[in-house]
Amino acid sequence: MERFAFLGRFARNRGALAGTVIILLVAFAALSAPVFFPTDPLRMVAQPELWPGEDPAFPLGTDSLGRDMLAMLVHGARATLLIGLFASAVATLIGVSVGAAAGYFGGWIDETAMRAVELFQTIPNLIFVLTIVVILGSTLHNIVIAIGIVSWTPIARMTRAEFLALRDREFVQACRSMGMGDFGIIVREILPNALPPVIVLSSLVVAGAILFESAVSFLGLGDPNIASWGRLVGDGRELIRSSWYICAIPGVAIMVTVLCLNLIGDGLNDALNPKLRDR
């Protein structure tokens, strides 16, 4: 019942609904890329710098090396979405662990955890990501981990706040008096109750991670085997005088995807706090 009410509230939010539909379309395009564009997207297929619409076979034109923009865009969606999702997962894992421990145990654990949060807010995050990626190597999973490492602090703060609010509630005390261990209480009793707002935040972290990844790739430090959207923008920047569409198109793709993820996050947030909607 509660779940249906939640979905109903979410679906009534037009922005969130539109965002979900578009993200599903992007995800579908990403998944079906090998079907529609089975050849390597980084292969030259036509004359370079064809403007969008100039040749119907290449609706989004070709880049400076004569590669099909549409094919690259669709294949790039895979990389961009995957990195966003996994980096957010890493951030959520770290953030929830740190936040849960801090909020549940309090004391010096809390103090240490909050100092760590402060520390990671102090380090200029993108510079840190670049350093990690260069030192450990520009591979997909290093990028994912690096972005996760700089994105966990808001999740830790929120998880901690939720745990602080929940840890002294009756049901938790009941479990404690029944002799349930700390780990069991954290994972089985408190976490499920603390999770909804954390999930909302995670969806926003996906958006942030996509922006991070695009910046890393734009700067040319991404995985050289993957043409993510950020790298496409970076590849096109030398040609902005003649063919600015090469930069514009993948950038629009990033913006639309991030925009939709933000809309979904806002929609989830509103659906979680129905009180705020009536204002």
Partner: protein, 330 residues
Amino acid sequence: MASTSGSSRRNAALRLLKRRLLQAIPLMLGVVVINFVLIHLAPGSFLELMTAENQVSDPATVELLRKTYGLDDPVWLQLVKYIWALMHLDFGFSYRQNMPVLDAIWVGLPATLLLMISSITLAFVIGVAAGVVASAKVRTVWDTAVSVAAMFFFAAPSFWLGIMMIVLFAVKLGWLPVSGMETIGGGGGVLDILHHLILPTLALGLFYAATYARVMRSSMLEVAQLDFVRTARAKGLSRRRVTLSHVLRNALLPVVTILGVQMGTILAGSVVIESVFSWPGVGSLLFDSVSSRNYPVVLGIMVLGSLVVIAANIAVDLIYMWLDPRIEIR
């Protein structure tokens, strides 16, 4: 009963300053340790990388490097030595630039700080103004326009926004320079720099302006519901007066908090924008050092960058304290 004279608030501010500076010490230690350890995680020996990347082959120089970096010592001793050196403002020597690391960073730091400060100022002014307008005209075309604009700028990657603005304002319209900080030859005046500053500032600042506009709008609406707003209206003050002299200051508090949290992000973001606009800041030095694995410089940039963030955070704390007299220092 707290005393309320100006001098007591000044004392409170000094106490805050002292506490924040004390807290900064372990924070800086953390920054140094994390980055130091990270660099030592690098595959291959530090020395091999350094010598290979910097094309040093002369055995005497290699030996000198080994000595100066104390590379025969255990890692923890190297860390202690590095920290000891840092405390004496010795960030090491960069063979690539052939100058001390600190000097190399010092060259670009003013440009980076200029970009950072102008972006924060722009973001704050535009964001707050847009949020106030949207909340004053809530559920009108104005409100929608602000929300939509905020939504877009909140989602647009800053580097892409920068490139698109170069295309429109520099290439197509020719109003503003494409890149750099000064006109080559004959440039250098304050106006010239400001002229070059416009696009990078917009590219970096608009994302944060969008953030602040959203926060400011909801904060204004929330504060407008509070009792003291009704009291002010009962005194015969106009809606506008009440908004400007009572609601605004209270509503600014959450925006200032967020500003503090985002300092590190803004500094890092300026590095990307510097690359887009060939802005002569620390950014290019960072890329060069990162890709040539010139670790002393990378570490130095991290340490100095964190120092800038900490200083900015202290400034934000003082502003917050000035805005909200309820903040008492323990």
